[in-house]
Each structure stands twice: as structure tokens, then as C-alpha cells.
């Protein structure tokens, strides 16, 4: 089966004269059904790599291919359309505060041009799947952090994307909510075959993944499968 995302010798520089190197020659492939975790300390390049895979940013050198499309060759509009094939979960939930949980989940479906009936069905399914259906009419401000992150998961799921990218999804959650969310993500991968790529430096999160890619100073140090062992210590 064709990979969903291919990262081919990717570099990412920041700063005025590209003096900061966030990623240095990354090669990575994500196959359908993967549950991949980018692990590593702060500043290792996890978020930068996820942003590139999520078409939120472009590489300085190298190629990122998402759904067979080279992201650097796509126009801003084409990149936006490409992002509609991806589900995102952010550390800070990033829900739209003026929208209810239902509307937050519905928003990407509206952007994708889906009809009202189809939207309602998909949103209800997604909210039910993450166990937050009873809070559908509440705004983010009325929900706990764990509940907000579940809404964010539902938003990522609702459009039935081939892959969900999650950047430190448990970073703002307490240990109980964090464990609950990871159980949910693991079940989504195992039972529904949803491809997941997430970043974290939390061992409890990392050990749930099928593949662990350890990053340090913008480079892949090693790749392994659980048990975790000393994966966090390059």
C-alpha cells in the first residue's frame, strides 16, 4: 500500500539567514495503520517535523509527500485542500471558542463542502466515538481540558482522514485525562485502523505507539518498537 506521508531528506532552517537548523536530513515514511510516535526532548524538532507532515509548514530542503502530493509544489490553496485529508490534534486543543463542541467538529466538514445531513451524521458519530456526545452544545470554555481534547479528537476524526497528526496531545492534561486520551487513541488505531502520528516526550504516551522515532537536535537518532527501554536517552 502506498505510504500516506513520505519525508525525504528534509531540512528545516529558521532565522534571518537560516542560522538555526531545526531538522537536518530527516527520512521517514508513514504507512496506513501506523501508530508512530516522535519522541525526544524539547527542541529536538518533533513539532517542526509534525508541522511539515501536516502541510502547516514547508521544508527548507528536501521533500515531504502527503497523499502523493509534494507539498512544496502545491499552491497555498492546494496545501489547504491537502490539509482537509489530515486530522490535527494540538497540545492546547485549539478549539474555536465561539463555537459549541458540535460546531467545532462540524467546521472542517463545512470547509470540505459536505452537506448538512452528512455533516450531522459524521459529527454525531465522532462525538459519540470519543464519548463526549452529551456535551455537544457546550462551548470550549464550559468544558474541562480532557473534554476539550476529546472534542479536538472528534474534530480530527470527523472528516475520516487517512491520518491524524497529534502534537503533544496530552501536554495540557492531567495524568488521568492523559491516560484516558491515550487509551482512546490506541483503540482508534487498533480497532478502526486509524493511522496516527504523534509527538511526545512523555514515556506513558510513547509506550502506546507501535513505532517510536527518537529525535535529537533535528536528527533521527533511532527508531524502535516498544517496549520503550532507554528510547528517550540517545
Amino acid at each position: 500500500m502506498e505510504p500516506i506521508i513520505t519525508v525525504d531528506n528534509v531540512w528545516r532552517h529558521f532565522g534571518h539567514q537560516h542560522q538555526e537548523t531545526a531538522l537536518a536530513g530527516i527520512d521517514l515514511t508513514i504507512e496506513p495503520g501506523d501508530f508512530l510516535c516522535l519522541a525526544g526532548p524539547s527542541g529536538s524538532g518533533k513539532t517542526t517535523l509534525l508541522n511539515l507532515m501536516g502541510v502547516l509548514d514547508l521544508p527548507s530542503q528536501g521533500r515531504v509527500t502527503v497523499c502523493s502530493q509534494d507539498t512544496r509544489e502545491a499552491s497555498p490553496r492546494q496545501r489547504a485542500l491537502l490539509r482537509r485529508h489530515l486530522g490535527f490534534i494540538f497540545q492546547a486543543y485549539q478549539l474555536i471558542p465561539v463555537l459549541t463542541a458540535f460546531e467545532n467538529v462540524e467546521y472542517p466538514l463545512i470547509l470540505a463542502g459536505k452537506g448538512h445531513q452528512q455533516r450531522t451524521k459524521l459529527v454525531n458519530e465522532a462525538l459519540g466515538l470519543v464519548g463526549i456526545a452529551e456535551h455537544a452544545n457546550k462551548r470550549p470554555g464550559e468544558l474541562s481540558g480532557g473534554q476539550q481534547q476529546r472534542v479536538a479528537v472528534a474534530r480530527a476524526l470527523a472528516g475520516q482522514p487517512p491520518i491524524i497528526l497529534a502534537d503533544e496531545p496530552t501536554g495540557n492534561l492531567d495524568s488521568k485525562a492523559s491516560a484516558s486520551l491515550m487509551d482512546l487513541l490506541q483503540r482508534l488505531n487498533q480497532e478502526l485502523g486509524i493511522t496516527l502520528a504523534l509527538s511526545s516526550h512523555d514515556p506513558k504516551v510513547i509506550e502506546k505507539a507501535k513505532r517510536i522515532v527518537l529525535l535529537n537536535d533535528g536528527q533521527i537518532v533511532r527508531e524502535q518498537t516498544p517496549p520503550l527501554g532507554k528510547a528517550l536517552h540517545p
Binding site: M1, E2, I4, P32, T47, T48, N51, G54, L56, D57, V66, C67, S68, Q69, P76, R77, A80, L81, L82, R83, R84, H85, F88, F90, A92, Q94, I96, P97, V98, L99, E103, Y107, P108, I110, L111, A112, G113, L129, R155, L157, G159, Q160, P161, P162, I163, R187, E191, L192, G193, I194, T195
Partner: protein, 428 residues
Amino acid sequence: MPKRQQQPLMPACQTGATTASGLADLSFTLTIAFRNLNRNLRRSLLTISAIAFALICLLVFNALKNGLHQTMVTTTTSTDIASLQIHGQGYGGNLISLTEIPQPEQVTTALAALGLNTFARRLKASALLLAGPKSAAVVLHGIIPEEEGRVTSVQRQIIRGETARGDKEILIGAGLAEAFALELGGRLTIMSQDIFGTTVSRAFTVTGIYRTGVVAFDGAHLFLPLAALQSFLDADGMITEIAIALPQANQASAAQRLGQRLGPNYQVKTWQEIAPDVTQLIELNDTTMTILIAIVFLLVAMGIVNTMTTITFERFREFGTIAALGATPCDIMTLVIAEALVLGLVASAVGSVIGVGCCLFLASHGIDLTSLTSTNQYFTNNHILRAVLDWRQVALTNGFTLLTATLAGLPPAWTAAHQNPAQAISHT
């Protein structure tokens, strides 16, 4: 959680299956816009108040300007000039010499044929008024009171006595009466030149005093019967001017048709041609108002740009998230512009209601400018300035407000739509 073997929840990549939604669902966009404006209600209300206040000012200023112009035109046309005037060819716009209208009966026949029945025949001449030790240059109007009363207002503005009907009777303005200390029954002498250039003089008795309110006119114009002036100037049957009253909208076409019908021996002029100073003053006012409107709209635009830029800056992360969800730059621009447009719409509604209310109040009550303006009136006959509401102007002003709001929303919308989503999401 049921496992979906047959129909997997997550399909493989199908890039061809996703199409651009173009403008994302409009009602959803407007819902977000309304709710976002409610997020910082005080700031939104301040912006709306500023726009609405500007709109109110423009509506009221425009309505007062309309009222002033209407008064100026009414005063100009109803005091003496009327809507159209016919003169003989060679008439130079002054009374240095009498220019006769040839065959006035043919002119009145032509007027009747064109349905222009509200006209007044006149003989006008310059003269010198002598009363006691005082003298003044004046204009004599030989009129038929019944005809003149249908065309201009002087015959209805007699404040004492009555119009002149006899050979030696005369109607004078209040300004002259005061300057020469003349009362009803008072006597004055008029000196002029007859059509042969011979100096003639005659004593007249004041039978009436009028007051138009236009000081310059009241101090220099005297009215006497047409036949009396013709006799005085030895100008039997002579007419030098025919004034015609018409609705404003019909004037230009009537002047053109009349000119074509009468031929080259006659001059047909509209009041705008006869009183270019009034026309120019109106044009000057209109230009000034246009500049004022442009300045006000510029300020409105700056206010909206400021508000929308602040809103955009505060919500950088949110726009990054929306971009991550698949919003195209066009979708994000639509979202920001929709908020600017909603600001403009609410402000337009509030401004229009209050502005129209103010205009209607000023239309019925007016503003008394007596203490603010000179008593030496030239273009208008009263100091009460009343608003005249023009619904086309209301619609146009609202249209410009919405257009300004939309255009002012463009720069922040562009900024929001063209940021790097990754940087926007991490923006603090």
C-alpha cells in the same frame, strides 16, 4: 467500539475526492462573525458607535445642505427669476438698455402650445428713486399682478397695503420704505429714460410695502402695473421679459423645446444660467460635502482597520487552526471580511435609524440660525434651516459605509489569510 472491517472509518488518501468549498457556508461564516464581535462587546460597540455617529453626521449634514439648497433655489426662483426667462435676442443680462421681446403674442401662443401656462409678462427698467433729500438706484418692474402672483411670491409677501394697480401707484420693498422713511400713501419720484433716451420722471404714491426677506432685493425693486410703466417709458405694448414657473425636473427640457420653437430671435434661459452665483454656491457646497464625506469615510475605514487588525492579531492562533482544518486563504479572508461587514451592517442600521430620526425632527422643527448668521441675507429669505431628507442619499451613504467596511476589512483579512499556519498556531 465496533470494528469496521467492511467500511473502514479512515479511507486511504483520495486527493481527488476533496474539492474546494469556495466560500465556506455563508450562514456559518456569519454566525462566527456575529459571535466573534460579541467576544469583545465593548470594543465592538465602540467601533459600531463611531461608524454610526459618522453616518448620523453625514445624513444630517447632507439633509441640512439639501434644505439650504432648496431654500436658496426657492428664494431665487420665487422672488424674481422664476424657473425660465424669455428675452429678446441681444439681451445682455442687465438693464442698461431695454431689449424688447418681439411679437410677445406669438411667444404666449407658443407657451400655451407647450402647456406652459404659468408665466408672467414683465417690463423691467433701471431708474432713480428720489424722496426728499435721498435718492437710490432701483429696478422698476412693470407687471400684471395676477400673472406675477402665479409665478413669484412678491405679490403674496405684501406686509402692508396692497399691490399697485393705478397709473401712479407703486409697491415698494420694506428695505426701501425704511431707508426712505416711506409709509403707505407716501410719495416718491421716479426718474428714468424712456425708450427714446429722453429723461422722464413721475411722482408715485406708495400703495403697498412687501418683504421677501432677501435684503438686497427688498432694498432695490419696485413694482407697478405693466401699463403704467409702459406709459411712463413711452413703451406702448413693450415686454422685455417673460418669466415662467415650472417644476425643477422639467426645466431643462422645457427650455430646450421652447428655444427650438421660438427660434433665433429669442433667448430662453434657466434660472441656473440667470443666477450662476447661486448655482456655483450650490456646486461649491456639494464639493465641500463630498470632501467631508471622503474624510469621514476615511476615518471610518481607519477605525475598522484598527479594530479588525487588533482582532486579527489577537486571533492569530485561531486563524492558524482554521488554516490547519483546511480553510483556504479565501475562506479565511471571507471570515475576516464578514466580521468587518457585520460591524458595518450593525452600524449602518443604528446610524440610519438615528440619522433619519434626526433629519425628520429637523425637517419639522428646523434650526433657527438668527443668532449665528448675518442679517444681511442674499440667497435665502429666512434664518430657519430645515433638513430635507433624500432617501437616495440615505441608501448611498449606507452603501458607502458597507463598502468602506468591506474594503477596510481587506488588509487584516489578507494578513490573516496569508500567514504561515505553523507559525500562527505557535503565536503567543
